[in-house]
Amino acid sequence: MKHLTLDIILNSLREVGSTVLYIFLSTVLIELLVYFLWEPLSALSRSIDRALSFLGRTVRYAISAILIVAAVVFVVAMVSPGQEPSSWAGYWPLPGVAFLIGLFVSPAAVTIFSPRLRLPYMLLVPAVVGLSLLVVYPLLWELNVSFTNLSPKHFRSPDFVGLQNYIEVFTRPILKQITFTPLFLRTILWTAVNVVFHVSGGMGLALLLNRKMKLRGLYRALLVFPWAIPQPVACLAWRGEFHFEYGFANIVLQRLGLAPIQWMSNPTWNFIAMCITNIWLGIPFMMVIILGGLQSIAGEFYEAAEIDGASGWQQFTNITLPLLRPILTPAIILGTVWTFTNFNVPFFINQNELETSDTLVTALFRSAFQYFNLGDAAAFAFVNFALLLIFSIIYIRVTGGLKGATE
């Protein structure tokens, strides 16, 4: 039983403090490294460009592409699942070398290493390094695993099975009966319903709050409750509310003279219960983001519009929405992605593990961890990933969302 003593406080402060300092230092060091190396690299790229100019651009792009793709494939193969180290691991410098050669051979190198781009790349490199470790490595690991049959029965040295896992994602039932397409459609419905309510609810509340009024701070603090409460606790609270006997929902229904609903066993009502909970959870986030965006719209726009005789709705569609777009677009995309991959709400509200209430992610989780079929689960995760990526790209294209308001 360790109580909070001064000793513990000091030790932990020391450890965390030194970590923060190291991270900060390494960031600065990396940035300085890039800064000072830039000119030599730039000169190098120009001289290589001149030396290789006899080859012609297409040839050089081709060589570069081959080398870089080969490097990536090599790294994926090197990352070994199972317990035995991969036989490719001994040659680890190779992909790095191949990548560098590919980079400098390509005609694009001169554009990349141009002197005016020193600053942005310098600012980006630390984040890239960090993300490579924590995001790229797991991604490559998962990719590798998705081509194997890693599971308890094939644990130490799983076999390479090619695309078999991917094919099975679409043909075999994920868990017991349900197959991919209905699960996917249901997840889309879940996402659509939630995002629509999140954005409209958040927008409504933000508009209400975006004015000078008494108690504004208090309202904002209270409305942010659902976001401030940790998700598992909130899910627990709502699960209690949907309990047949003791839950708030049924008690109110009964007092109104209606029949109580079997929230936990009935598929339709369980889905609705999940949606209600997630909507309650997600509105404050949207509200805060939109409110921040509203505040950055100068009042003069509205004054000018009023003088011109524009109605409230016109002001909204012609001033508010466009100016909010650079903030709203990423918020909506992220909100969609998060809702799509939301695990806590469907998992906790669906305690009875109704297959009808599963979304792609919860089905994936169950299949992965209840049986530890990591090969299957990895393939499933990537299919999921590909779908979301396609959606995001389409959304950005359609709304032109990457354009800022000042362009």
Binding site: R14, S18, L21, K153, F155, S265, E355, Y371
Partner: protein, 441 residues
Amino acid sequence: MKKHALTLISALVVLGLLLTACGPAATPERVVETVVVTEKEEVEVTREVEVVKEVEAEAKPVKIVLWTKEGEADGGLQFVQSLADAYTAINPHVTFEVINKDVETLREDFLTAGLAGSLPDLLWTVNDHAGPFTDAELILPVDDLFDLSLYVDSALAAAELGGQTWGVPIANGNHLMLLYNKDLVETPPTNTDELIEMGQELTTGDQYGLVFNQTEPFWLVPWLGGFGGKVFAEDGKTPTLNTPEMVNTLQFLYDIKYTTPIIPPESDYDGADTLFKEGKAAMIINGDWSLGAYKDALGDKLGVARIPEVVGGEWPHPYTSGVYFMLPVSLEEDEAKMEAVVDFIEFVTGANNQALMVAKLNRLPALKAALDDPLIANDPILKGSADQMVVGTPMPTVSEMRCNWDAMKPEMQAVLADTKSPEDAAAAMQEAAEACIAKLE
């Protein structure tokens, strides 16, 4: 910018060095033991030296990381910690880090740790973990390390796979039984007809005759046994869920909810638990882990009996298992740890600590000798629990069992929600289990 940057960086570097330098040295404390060697004749001197060597070897500190599924709610974790502390008091060079992980988490984390090569040193867990852990070749068989004849047969059977035993039993049971409130029920029902009759009399308004967790198939299997069914065929791997016995079981569950209602319309574990604690349920089917809490809530009014016999069938066979020590393969590489672990296991499953466990946790011991202890015969609750266990059946520990659980769960709920007929549900169960097992390959 360069000037400022350089000064800033040098300042930070200095600060960083200061912070690390001021940290406490992480060197472990070395216990210096001085052994006085007196001069003796040659023979005795050699013996003396041997003794010295032994002492030195024993003094090498060993730290054992123990993962246990015991939680705080029923006092289990505190008990494990007290055992560890007691052992350390006797053998100061062995220390423990006791980590509680709930059953699912323990399984996932152990497999993940296996992939990363960082296994803990000892597991205190449930029997059905043996299936996946032996598939992944992460635990050791215990037949050669311990004298298994000291333990209760059914406990050993529940940890047996492929002719070898994979866990040392600590407690026996984890089984469901019929618990009743003596204020509402004078003598417990002995068969299902009596159960229904009494139940109907007692089910009035906001009171129910019987409650249990209607969402988990763990509560279904005793009845299945009562109707003469099993989830696996003789080979222990092929699911047999689409059988007339299963249909009868599902029909029975349907009946006690709709035809002759004695159970609440919707009830999960917490719901049933709350109703019984509040005195709004006359009888509950729950397991030996809940005995402690119910003793506190109901005191002398708590009665324990067997789940009533199925008319035209048998006594229901709830699954028995218990908790086991399992040894990760990483122990093979560290002799000192292996020794300490084996010694600790024998300490915990020795007669003294088994009796202690019975008293503190209300669980039945796995040591044969401890079963004869009068403590059990004299306590009506423990006696009832032992009585139920006699007709229990060891829970299957193969990995395929998980498929069965997952297959039964939604179908059982569908029947209870009146959205499927028992026949359809049984057929669906079988299909799902077969699909799941095919995927395991």
